[in-house]
Symmetry: C2
Subunit: 356 residues, 2 copies
Amino acid sequence: REYKIAVIPGDGIGNEVMDEGIKVLNLFAELKGDIKFTYEYFPWGCEYYLKTGKMMDDNGLDILKGFDSILLGAVGYPTVPDHISLHGLLIKIRQGFNQCVNLRPIKLLPGAPCPLKDKAPEDIDFVVIRENVEGEYSGVGGIRFADKPEEIAIQTSVFTRKNTEKVMKYAYDLAEKRNKKKKLTSTTKSNALNYSMVFWDKVFGEIGKQYPEVETESIHVDAISMFFIQKPQNYDVVVASNLFGDIITDLGAALQGGLGFAASGNLNIEKEFPSMFEPVHGSAPDIAGKGLANPIAMIWTAKMMLDDLLEDPKAEEIINAITDVLVEGKSLTPDLGGKATTQQVGDAICHKLKAR
Amino acid sequence: REYKIAVIPGDGIGNEVMDEGIKVLNLFAELKGDIKFTYEYFPWGCEYYLKTGKMMDDNGLDILKGFDSILLGAVGYPTVPDHISLHGLLIKIRQGFNQCVNLRPIKLLPGAPCPLKDKAPEDIDFVVIRENVEGEYSGVGGIRFADKPEEIAIQTSVFTRKNTEKVMKYAYDLAEKRNKKKKLTSTTKSNALNYSMVFWDKVFGEIGKQYPEVETESIHVDAISMFFIQKPQNYDVVVASNLFGDIITDLGAALQGGLGFAASGNLNIEKEFPSMFEPVHGSAPDIAGKGLANPIAMIWTAKMMLDDLLEDPKAEEIINAITDVLVEGKSLTPDLGGKATTQQVGDAICHKLKAR
Ligand SMILES: CC(C)[C@H](C(=O)O)[C@@H](O)C(=O)O
Ligand SMILES: CC(C)[C@H](C(=O)O)[C@@H](O)C(=O)O
């Protein structure tokens, strides 16, 4: 089968790491034999914006609609304000394609640098399901009496039952199948957010009735931020709102060795539109173009795309190949204390993948 | 001078740790000679609620108004819903007495168990200024189409210029005087919260003009959650909204050894009303009444009250006495791997304080 992939390398190191992601995808297809990826590149991002005044073409979503999946590198540029770069591309695709789930594995690979004492890879291995299209990111609000002493700013979170149920079901399904523990943790703050999070807890409880085998718990976002550090081994699948998921997955990224290891998938779970896969890291303009960027998060992200398209357990070999490279410790980028270039790390991972 | 302190031990371990806090306060007054504390106890909390249907008396705020300060132990009970116990007491006092700043030191004491590799006490020593009366905790919102498929929940954050400016000024003042670095970090998320946090950033910048000597930076809440783990030594004074401050201070508590070390002050900075001092930990019903609770957070909290009432540098000796006990390692509660009781730890700290 042939899979058509839309590739948006974006800005800065997005370009460099994307090359390595594609390299690994191609090797995987070659080793597997019966599949093929074709790529169409889109030059969208902040540099495009500086030239054209647009982050992506006006008919961008229409164009992307025809692809099986979207791979994104990184977006951001010092001279383009965040709200333009994000709302013009990343958030536009997430919301426009109703990618209601943002899936983020938090997994410490053997050989990756964990900042915690006394924690081993088996202690840090969970998945966060982040709500991805509404909630705190609804963009609803306003300013009244601007710049006057009586100025107020309001920002409204909007949670719909329809979407919340969908995200919860996805999380319960994953908890049910992920491993023997069958445990789902919900991130809440209903002791202070007396409407949105009370609602969140209610839906979490209701959907849970359909999954009697899944053990559940609700933990306030402040407490879970502490527990991720103190007892990460307690978590298996964690579901969180858009904002809480954003916070706890960056925290989780720190535990697994930094943003160099943080992969993510923005999933349209109905498969009406393509899903989008992107490493969590930014465009890092300070190191761009120098071959210094760690491509592991991008390669891991490409592997998540494979999971979504193929559901082939062989894709796990990509993670094993990354681990081989980490454990060997010879081909690492400077963020991991090595001297290898982005490309050399990509090559080393391909080498290990072939050898498996 | 005589200081009248309202004491609300609250529920569970609140009672046990309060005794040790008071013990240290009394010793401090005795050693200092020219001051005296008198205490009035209020039996408010969840047990009171179960007996009377009220978390505190109706005229509770009126009664508390007459005191120089309020010391709170911990509030919470399994059979009383959070929104009742909190809105009936803790949040009622915070908001009712316009305690607009919540001050939380994040400081790793020598001898305290840090979960991070390669970090020493000098690396973890900052203060978080949390906005404490509005923002995400405004309690504004609602539910529409309850329990129907089209149900939506909304929760609105409300930020006023008046209060935001006040909190920012407090933070800048502290950054200016706290140490040589003179650095203030603002916690934001203006790339997604396009009204509230854009407003927050604006006020942060405006007030900053009055403090040209203070170095400033704005960091998104997701990134700062990662950086607290990776490079806590970068922080000196951090200002954050109510919700963000809640999250990052629990995270910070983990870095300093857990909630057993997390102290806080809810400050009415105009001194129209009393301020309230409380350890961040809860009532821990599972270990209550057994002498197992670590009283260090409560004693540290009592020390923060002294700072607020007296501005006497000698109060720092209380922190030094706690450190002496930690470093000696003989009188520690079970959460720190020791076998001492709550009372024995309080006694040991008093012993060290006398010896200094
Ligand atoms: C860039 C920003 C808007 C984005 C988010 O908050 O979702 C990022 O932090 C992420 O986690 O993908
Ligand atoms: C109990 C809860 C409402 C409270 C808060 O969120 O403020 C607590 O977490 C705290 O940090 O004091």
